[in-house]
């Protein structure tokens, strides 16, 4: 059927290509573990850059034509202001406005400083936007966020356990969520982006989105593993089939989800809208991490948890006994052809084969497709 060489997307689409998530489980776990460990190291070494929302301070923004020397000029003016020890930091925002961050000011100090900044920028005071934040505000936001996190995680665990009748799914999903959160925080620490309340919003959203994605994958796994005891498949094989079946959907959803967020991020960056850029960035990192963790962490972890159940172990042994029996029969018949197909894995205990078929179980066609995709994969690598 597939005579021509197909693109990767097309092959995924038609199920010619499938990846064995279960066999490479360990590798991905180690990879994610390294990511998390790196995050911890980066956090300890560099720490997060917290916005003034968390430390308290006043942030003025005034429209001003920015040239190469503007920032230095404004900085020089800062010492002449009537309020002492402003600890002013001056930044340019693009080429049309200037941003000055100072320590916490009293309302009177704010008024005078605002007027002086307006004079420096050559605008009326009303055009100077300012944002004064007490030191407790960021703490409050963080505290609320943590409470929301705990409550949400608890509720979702209950919801998933109730819907899927499987508390192991809850555990796997939550592990994936925490992985996403940690990785997102890690990206912030590594790149040195400033953490603002908008970031907190973004991070909280990641929770919902990451779980949303995981639930879609789990739903497919549940469907595939229904009555698994009466089939000749192991739980891992069926879970792997499920992941491969939702792979295209996950990719598409991630692309479609990320595109608008990317637009948000770019629009926010280009037009210097701090909150939009912050939010966009957190969502961007979180969505990609969320899609990744559903496929590479949550599902394999679930399979690993389930495979350790006595029932599943027994089920696997049964399959192996059956395999061994049929292999022995095949050897007995000395039929080379059958030995080549069904006895390939005889005697060896493999949970997984290099290629797990996602197509219907018609031997001949499957055979041909397998060959094509293998050959292609060799070429591809």
């Amino acid at each position: 059927m597939a005579e021509k060489k197909l693109s990767v997307a097309e092959r995924l689409y038609t199920g010619h290509l499938s990846y064995d998530f279960m066999k490479n489980r360990k590798g991905w776990f180690i990879f994610s573990g390294i990511l998390v460990a790196l995050t911890v190291v980066v956090l300890l070494v560099r720490g997060l850059t917290l916005g003034i929302e968390f430390s308290g301070g006043t942030d003025f923004q005034a429209p001003m034509k920015i040239t190469s020397s503007t920032v230095d000029d404004v900085r020089a003016h800062m010492n002449e202001l009537s309020v002492d020890e402003l600890d002013a930091q001056v930044f340019s925002l693009g080429d049309s406005s200037i941003r000055i961050q100072t320590r916490s000011l009293t309302p009177e100090e704010t008024t005078t400083t605002r007027a002086e900044i307006a004079k420096i920028a050559g605008v009326v005071p009303d055009d100077v936007t300012y944002n004064a934040i007490g030191g407790s505000w960021g703490q409050q936001i963080t505290q609320k966020a943590v409470i929301a996190l705990v409550v949400f995680v608890a509720l979702v665990m209950v919801l998933i356990a109730a819907y899927f009748r499987d508390w192991k799914m809850s555990i796997a999903a939550i592990v994936a969520v925490f992985h996403d959160l940690i990785v997102t925080v890690g990206v912030y620490a590594a790149v040195g982006f400033t953490v603002t309340p908008s970031t907190v919003i973004g991070v909280l959203t990641i929770l919902g989105y990451s779980l949303y994605d995981t639930v879609v994958v789990f739903d497919k796994i549940r469907e595939n593993t229904k009555g698994i005891e009466h089939t000749t498949y192991t739980y891992s094989e069926q879970a792997n089939r499920a992941i491969n079946q939702v792979l295209v959907r996950s990719l598409n959803t991630t692309v479609i989800g990320v595109l608008p967020v990317l637009a948000l991020f770019i629009a926010g960056t280009v037009l210097q809208s701090g909150p939009l850029a912050d939010l966009g960035l957190a969502l961007l990192v979180g969505m990609i991490a969320g899609a990744y963790s559903s496929l590479f962490i949550a599902a394999p972890l679930l399979a690993w948890l389930r495979e350790r159940e006595p029932k599943m172990i027994e089920h696997r042994e049964q399959i192996e006994r059956r395999k061994a029996r049929s292999a022995a029969k095949a050897a007995h018949r000395e039929s080379v052809a059958t030995a080549a197909t069904s006895g390939a894995a005889a005697g060896t205990v493999t949970l997984t084969e290099p290629v797990v078929e996602v197509t219907d179980e018609q031997g001949a066609r499957q055979q041909r497709r397998t060959n094509v995709s293998r050959a292609d994969r060799r070429k591809g690598k």
Partner: protein, 517 residues
Amino acid sequence: MAVTRTWSPKLGLDLQGGQTITLSATNRSVPMDSLELARDIIQQRVDGLGVGEASVAIQGDRNIVVSAPNVDRDDLAELVGATAQLAFRPVLDVAAGTGPTATPSPGETPVPGLPTAPASPTPTPSPAATPTGGADGQAGDEPLLSMADVLAYQPTAADTQALADFTCGDPTHDDADRALVACDDQDVYKYLLGPIAIRGQDLNTASFGIPQGDLAYAVTLSFNSEGATRLSDLTGTLVSQTQPRNMFAIVLDGVVESAARAEAKIANGEAIIRGDFNADSAAGLANVLKFGSLPLSFEPSQVETVSPTLGGEQLRVGIIAGILGLAVVALYSFLYYRAMGIVVVASLAVAAAATYAMMVLLGSVFGFALNLPGIAGAIVGIAVTADSFIIYFERIRDEIREGKSLKSALQSGWEKARGTIVISDAVSLLSAVVLFILAIGSVKGFAFTLGLTTLLDLAVVFFFTRPLVELLGRTKFFGEGRRGSGLDAAHMGVTQESLLGRRLRRKDSTSTIAQEA
């Protein structure tokens, strides 16, 4: 929308310009009812400033958010954030105020809220709860004059002059040891008041009701030991004075809430204020007194001003990002799903229109205001909405691959996708609800639109997307999986016969379909 005659949603201050002040209570424990009282008082203050339609709302367990659109007053934060100061001061003189119904002879008409101490001072059981907290963190803790000094205070010529010159609405001071000129809340009378005799924090509770044996509403005050001592001294002295020197005033934030005549010496710290109260006015006064006695002090934890230009700019950016996002998603859908992309685009359009309509409706009915994070929430909602179709479509493909014909796959694919869509949307909704309930600040706006779009997505996928796919499946172009429809056999990875359930056996001689590279 047509009913409410508005065509655009209410905008948050970050999109239209204005000032948002978040006041956080600095006390360790903040009872909800006192926070509500604080909100009412602050609302009154803001209204008194004449800054237009400012809203005052409680947020979280210790915050009060004041949003004043298009107001740019630097002193706003100070004015609304000052702790309410309640004090009892002896009255030195009364003059007509500038109110509409000024009657300049208070001796002849009963002053509203004249108190009479209980003839036999029996402690009135007060239904109010025990007082919370001491007076720590109370602003204005300067020492009071001794009771003897307060009672000995005589109005100076300057004081009398000040009373004559005072117009209601003039700024007043809060000094404990000086005379004060203040009006009542109706601006009917001007009062010249002595130094503070009893501070509000020495008042334990205030309650209202109809005392036993009475016929009218009254307000009952109960003081702590220091307050009781001072009250006893105050009333003991005042009772023998002549009108108006036999009165004391209850002052809150420079406004005389009630001026009461002492009828007897009250030694037990339990006073009853009688007057022509109805239930509402008694409750109002009791609330004011109770609030003054609960030392909630606020600090402005965030003051955010956005100039109208910046607000408009943020709105523009948000809208551009949203439109751009939708356009890119539409493009991608057409690339991947070919003609079936119509379904994605149409579903998104319907969901967007519904979201917009809901925002307008909620804006006019519940005062929901769209803010910047809210726009972001709606943009995330795009992903959730598009995903519902994607899940459905992929299920149809799975079914076809398992050998079903296109017709039956449309049906069984939906049945299988339905559960996934519902449970995944439930998770998304749950996160929105938790965030909405527990979060503070602009996170609320984000959570709200995310929840709204998720709910609407459920409605759209059931009542629009699904029927649309069904309808398209009946057309020749889609139903027979023509090339470019997104449902063709090559796309599905099956043969044409299998796709059509072998209805059109050998209709076209090509059983293998040319693949596009």
